[in-house]
Symmetry: C2
Subunit: 285 residues, 2 copies
């Protein structure tokens, strides 16, 4: 293997430590810990595991954590009322609406009710729009984590050709915006791109968020390119695999994120950084 | 010249007629004409000419028009209060804040106050965000007009390579979103793109919104490509010129918009279409 491994686990650890210091400082300024509220409509086991991991992370970095656990039969009005209460709560700096919601609830409508200044998940249309307009925004955690990895490893983006594979609202599209903002020339590819390899071979940076294991093969990678894999697919044996054929691509790429241990570990720590940014912005600190 | 001319003047005329019929129908349903309100802080002569052209267009298509003309010394609070009054006014379906504002006023803050459902200019971050998330939005008029030209001339976009030159919040970036939505593989180029010609020659669709006359030359155009020029630069002799070297490019391209007479005439009629869409959405028609 010739590629540098972009080690998300190590960087996330480093950022957790830095965030812990920032939160200690911020807590002294605020006279309280910055607080995250998670709204969860109960019923999804994976969600419950995820929420526990967030709770643990908040404890690690010294952030406040509050779980608003709503019964599965919660109505849209009740859900939106809990969000409104958190918007009005001066001790809550960040609100995360845990998805998926049960089928009878409208996630988009609920997200629209979140005060966008507390939208630490970066999912409110206002934040997507500020990002799309090239302005300061709370950015979705997964692409923000990918950018942080690129920054940490001092990967030059300005003037480079970059591809983003996948056009989801939560990863691919915001990642493309962030790369444009960083002065890369960015191509957005997706399931309707006829010759993906031809496009990717033009690019010095390749970011993949398609949700299709093995979609990107080594032949598609330009020698020396930097590969960021956002894929988190569960393989036949229960293991986590990315969208990129890692073993073969690592022989061609200049740098590559592994799965697991690449972009995945970065996501939650970016949530904590958004919480710090939201608290600072809300309180003009 | 071999290229098909994408005639924005003719299409805009056709759409004005169609919009007139739509507005007649909608007015019957509403019991009143759909109404546009333009907020103008006085002092800019070009703005005044533009506002008059909008007033005239409203009269042509049968839409209501109201000008809120504010004195140059208007404060931010007064500006936002007039916007709030229009948000609350049930006879106003669309609000257009005329830019530029005098230097003492904050345009972004004022735009944020517009009810996004009445944002017929497509400039509110919520509309930019809905577009960026691939959802239904009121889209900025200039890129919407470019898309309408492509649609009218039945230019296939799905699976094609498209370039957008320029990353402004109002033209380049939303145009890229619209092309992604139409299943093109889209590359966003800008002033930091080192070899613009190399990128453009890969592309079957080239959309240019850079504000630099003659930036795109015939050598950059792939033979048979479709060229959409959003540039509106005033030449040395006072004439309007685009960002594309039209005469030479028309010998290479398969289709091309002229300047003037291409994307320019489309913009205002797209504003009227947004007004119709906003009125329908507000009143669930």
């Amino acid at each position: 293997m010739t590629a540098t491994i972009l080690d998300g686990r190590a960087l996330a650890q480093e950022l957790r430590t830095a965030t812990q210091s920032e939160i200690a400082h911020l807590s002294a300024q605020l006279g309280r810990t910055p607080g995250l509220a998670v709204v969860q409509v109960l019923g999804d086991a994976a969600s419950t595991r995820y929420v526990r991991s967030i709770e643990k992370l908040c404890a690690t970095v010294g952030a406040g954590f509050r779980l608003i656990a709503l019964p599965p039969e919660t109505t849209q009005a009740e859900l939106e009322a809990s969000i409104a209460a958190l918007n009005a709560d001066s001790e809550v700096d960040g609100i995360l609406l845990q998805l998926p919601l049960p089928a009878h609830l409208n996630a988009n409508a609920a997200i629209m009710e979140i005060d966008h200044r507390k939208d630490v998940d970066g999912v409110h249309p206002i934040n997507a729009g500020l990002l799309a307009q090239g302005r300061t925004a709370l950015v979705a955690n997964t692409p923000a984590g990918g950018m942080e990895l690129l920054r940490h490893y001092q990967i030059e983006l300005r003037g480079k050709r970059a591809a983003v594979v996948g056009r989801s609202a939560i990863v691919g599209r915001p990642m493309a915006q962030l790369l444009i903002q960083a002065d890369a020339t960015v191509t957005v590819c997706h399931s309707r791109t006829p010759d993906l390899g031809a496009v990717l071979r033009e690019c010095e940076i390749v970011c993949v968020a398609a949700g299709r294991p093995g979609l990107v093969t080594a032949e598609m990678i330009r020698p020396g390119a930097v590969v960021v894999d956002f894929g988190t697919n569960v393989g036949a044996d229960g293991s986590l695999v990315g969208d990129v054929d890692f073993a073969a691509s690592a022989e061609v790429a200049g740098a590559i994120t592994p799965v697991p241990g690449g972009t995945g570990p970065m996501t939650n720590v970016m949530l904590m950084r958004n919480l710090v940014a939201a608290a600072r912005n809300l309180h003009q600190l």
